[in-house]
């Protein structure tokens, strides 16, 4: 069964939610056709109005926060949503932060992640290892044959490729760090520059890694990790976790791992297998929408582009400021919502609803029947499916509000006010905050 409900979920999980009418279009392609339209996009162009903030274009390399807005704009306007979504996955996976790295190098890394979004993981891991942002972030250019710095070697295994303590020892961390020595950069008044591999700085001696001995260089070192026998299982379960909240069965894991190895560590076949898996469409397995995903999705739903810098601090308050993950393990997807970040989602909804609000004095009208009011308000967000308890709560709100209308002028003006509030209540309901 692949109906609008399933298509809507696919678009939220593998992209940034449906634009009006998009879910219905996707249904016509059937499940496999729909997934292929995402994994093999025909166009990567951006459609719709260019972002305009404070009367001008964005300056993503220079202005604080404009990097966030620049990427958010791509999420809103892309015709290849899975490419952007996977770029976000890699940003979380190889989490690098501008708390240390200059913004323009973050953007350079972002382009790298996008180039490999649906490509080959091993190539991506090799490229990320020599990426200037990563070299700064995990001290790759502080790692020399004289002063071995373990930072990248540890996280390459623990966070990026194998999982904590899975198939490597502290000795492997130190030996792998030796194999990764040799990167350098210079420092100028305007920041770090001339990132390069300098073999004079590389430890050319023999290393013993995973029980094997050799004079490993840095690329061999990365491939030792990506070809470690424990890597495929880590890879498929971690990738699965971005799309489906419950763990894959042992059988599924094994099947996916075989698929991954057979394709020589390509990501696209894995994505196609995950996105067509029935677990993704299980109504009882919802996921909290990451803040930027929700914001991009709301803008898509109402057909609005980036026209305010507010999205940077709003997403920050909600816990997801792009290019600044909390640490090298990325954002914690299990804790998006609490009383503070709930309020941030409310503020996000305010910034969508405020310019579009209904105004009785300008002739806007609304029905007074609670159920009709709820339906009208839901249509603002593309009529998402609402569960019985949420609908009951919304209708109770509408009825309570109308019950206070003890004068004819109130009875005629309150429905519009209630519809405005209902748009907010729907956007912050447990249903809309999850997909």
């Amino acid at each position: 069964m692949f109906g609008e409900e399933q298509a809507t979920r696919l678009l939220w999980r593998a992209g940034f939610g449906p634009a009006p009418g998009q879910a219905a279009e996707l249904v016509k392609l059937g499940l496999h056709g729909a997934v292929e339209s995402l994994t093999r996009p025909k166009s990567k162009r951006l459609v719709g109005p260019n972002p305009v903030v404070d009367g001008g274009p964005l300056a993503p390399r220079d202005a604080w926060g404009h990097d966030h807005l620049w990427w958010l704009d791509r999420m809103v306007r892309t015709q290849a949503p899975l490419v952007e979504r996977m770029t976000l996955v890699w940003h979380d996976w190889f989490a690098t932060s501008k708390s240390v790295v200059p913004q323009k190098l973050m953007l350079r890394q972002n382009a790298l992640l996008r180039r490999h979004a649906l490509g080959n993981f091993e190539k991506l891991a090799v490229e990320v290892t020599k990426d200037p942002a990563m070299l700064l972030w995990l001290n790759g250019t502080s790692n020399s044959r004289w002063d071995v710095n373990e930072n990248y070697a540890r996280e390459l295994q623990e966070l990026f490729c194998l999982g904590a303590g899975r198939g490597y020892s502290e000795r492997d961390v130190r030996q792998l760090a030796r194999a990764l020595t040799g990167f350098r950069n210079d420092w100028t008044d305007s920041g770090p520059t001339r990132f390069r591999f300098d073999k004079k700085f590389h430890d050319r001696g023999a290393k013993r890694i995973y029980g094997r001995r050799g004079k490993y260089g840095w690329q061999e070192a990365v491939r030792l990790v990506t070809r470690h026998r424990r890597h495929p299982e880590f890879m498929v379960t971690k990738l699965w976790g971005y799309f489906i909240p419950t763990k894959p069965s042992a059988k599924t894991t094994k099947k996916l791992a075989r698929l991954y190895v057979a394709s020589e560590r390509d990501v696209r076949p894995l994505l196609e297998a995950i996105l067509t898996h029935p677990d993704l469409y299980d109504p009882a397995k919802r996921m909290v929408k990451p803040p930027v995903v929700q914001v991009a999705g709301m803008l898509r739903a109402v057909g609005r582009g980036i026209d305010t810098p507010a999205w940077a601090w709003l997403c920050d308050s909600a816990g997801q400021y792009l290019f600044m993950p909390p640490n090298v393990s990325g954002w914690d997807d299990s804790r998006w919502l609490d009383t503070a970040t709930f309020r941030a989602r409310w503020q996000i909804a305010q910034h969508i609803c405020e310019p579009a609000r209904l105004d009785g004095e300008k002739g806007d009208t609304a029905p007074s029947d609670p159920a009709e009011l709820v339906n009208r308000a839901a249509s603002f967000w593309g009529s998402p499916k609402l569960s019985a308890p949420v609908r009951a709560g919304l209708e109770r709100y509408a009825a309570d509000t109308m019950a206070t209308a003890d004068k004819p002028w109130k009875a005629s003006s309150y429905p519009v006010l209630a519809e405005n509030a209902l748009r907010m209540l729907i956007a912050t309901s447990p249903e809309y905050l999850t997909s």
């Binding site: 502080s142 930072n151 303590g165 601090w313 309020r343 308890p389 309570d400 509000t401 006010l417």
Partner: protein
């Protein structure tokens, strides 16, 4: 960078009673001003709710009830995220091994640590040295656990959950709150930096997160009067109706919705239009980092009588100093401990010092040998228990650099689970065995 539109807060507080300096206690009611204000807020909403919004008064009752109890002890947990370099913070300055292992980064001199003549305070941590001289700091010079895990995330997880168990999902303070707290008071456990701290994760009772205590309103564009007033009770009610959802994602969203409105009501007296109405009772460092402001807000929350038992916050800056340690570490030490000194002075001036204990911790210490410009992950680290009632005596001893473990790291002489056990029993009055799995570890003396 963060700013908010002011009209929304004006609107959000429209239904709440005005708070004016010098407002008298509500005579004859037997209620503190705090609970009086809460009741007023609930009342304003109940008028429109025609008696059908039982949800909010329930919360209000929960908070009021918790407030009516005698003033209770509070633990503030301050996390130095990334692994603070213990061998810089309390440095064995004269030790030749230290100078050999740290040719670039060895601390050369500092105020002597009175409890162990081998050690000296980092000059940037002089605020902490001041508090120690006043007998208000118990130092754990080598705290950790045997065979320390050198992963940030694994080791931090162990400290957050209070056990060497990678699968435990509740925090050690969360389990304390499940025992000493109540099902309708989210303020009992509060994260002060806008996102739920894992150590506060409970199984049953609600907890809260606050970004800025003076900025907690819910403005509803295009709605006013009852249409706006009823919006908060509406999302509260929807949240409550889904608290028992079997889907963890829905349950998480439901918890946030169910308690966010209550947090707004409780904190309403602390700010108007996003501007604080409280005045700190001590001078905090002026910094763009929100840490000192958040501590000032926390002191004001305690002074307002809010029923808080545990709070958590991350210290400013990055402590994972693999490189450039000499530049980064002093700044972070100074801001962190200057702020904590101000907080201590603040609660002392407000007469709250006997009720508050501050735990300063990090997931591990750093490698004894430097790597050139920084230090890699180590094992045993340093921890502190700060407060007027802290014993002020060292817990465990400094093991010296002569007998490092096989990876060149400091060995632990105290176990964080023993420390937690003592806090459970002596500070919260809960049986440590009920909170900490396998808590047979010796418990140090932590109080005077």
């Amino acid at each position: 960078m963060k700013n908010t539109c002011c009209t929304e807060h004006a609107r959000a507080s429209a239904g709440l009673p005005a708070i004016e300096a010098g407002m008298p206690e509500p005579a004859g009611t037997g209620l503190s001003r705090r609970s009086f204000l809460l009741r007023s807020a609930g009342l304003g909403l109940a008028v429109y709710g025609a008696g059908r919004i039982a949800q909010l008064p329930a919360f209000e009752a929960g908070v009021a009830h918790a407030q009516a109890a005698p003033a209770q002890t509070v633990l503030l947990s301050v996390f130095l995220d990334g692994g603070v370099d213990n061998l810089s913070l309390l440095a064995p300055v004269e030790d030749p091994i230290y100078r050999r292992l740290r040719p670039n980064l060895a601390i050369r001199e500092g105020r002597a640590f009175a409890e162990d003549s081998r050690l000296a305070w980092h000059p940037a941590a002089s605020s902490l040295a001041d508090l120690h001289a006043e007998g208000k700091v118990s130092v754990l010079p080598a705290v950790g656990y045997t065979d320390a895990d050198q992963s940030h995330f694994t080791s931090r997880h162990f400290w957050e959950v209070g056990a060497l168990d990678p699968h435990l999902r509740t925090g050690w303070l969360g389990r304390v709150l499940d025992r000493v707290g109540s099902p309708d008071n989210p303020l009992q456990g509060i994260s002060l930096d806008g996102q739920l701290a894992p150590s506060l994760a409970t199984a049953r009772n609600p907890v809260a997160a606050v970004d800025k205590p003076e900025d907690v309103g819910f403005w509803t564009p295009g709605a006013w009067g009852p249409a706006e007033e009823l919006a908060v009770p509406a999302f509260t009610g929807i949240g409550r109706s889904l608290l028992g959802s079997g889907d963890p994602a829905v349950a998480q969203a439901a918890r946030a919705a169910a308690f966010a409105g209550g947090v707004r009501d409780a904190l309403a007296p602390l700010g108007i239009d996003g501007k604080p109405t409280y005045v700190p009772a001590a001078a905090y460092p002026q910094d763009k980092d929100p840490f000192p402001r958040r501590l000032a807000g926390f002191a004001a929350m305690l002074a307002a009588g809010l029923p808080i038992r545990a709070a958590a916050i991350r210290a400013p800056g990055a402590w994972d100093t693999h490189a450039n340690q000499a530049d980064v570490l002093p700044k972070n030490l100074k801001l962190t401990f200057d702020s904590l000194l101000a907080f201590q002075r603040d609660i002392e001036a407000r007469g709250l010092a006997d009720r508050v204990l501050t735990l300063v911790w990090s997931e591990f210490g750093r490698r004894a040998a430097e790597n050139g410009s920084g230090t890699d992950h180590g094992a045993a680290g340093v921890g502190f228990l700060v407060g007027a009632r802290a014993s002020g005596r060292m817990i465990g001893e400094f093991p010296g650099l002569g007998k490092l473990d096989k990876e060149g790291n400091l060995r632990a002489t105290s176990d964080f689970r023993g420390l937690y056990g003592a806090i459970c029993g002596d500070w919260f009055g809960v049986d440590p065995a009920a909170v900490l799995p396998g808590s047979g570890i010796g418990k140090p003396v932590i109080l005077k």
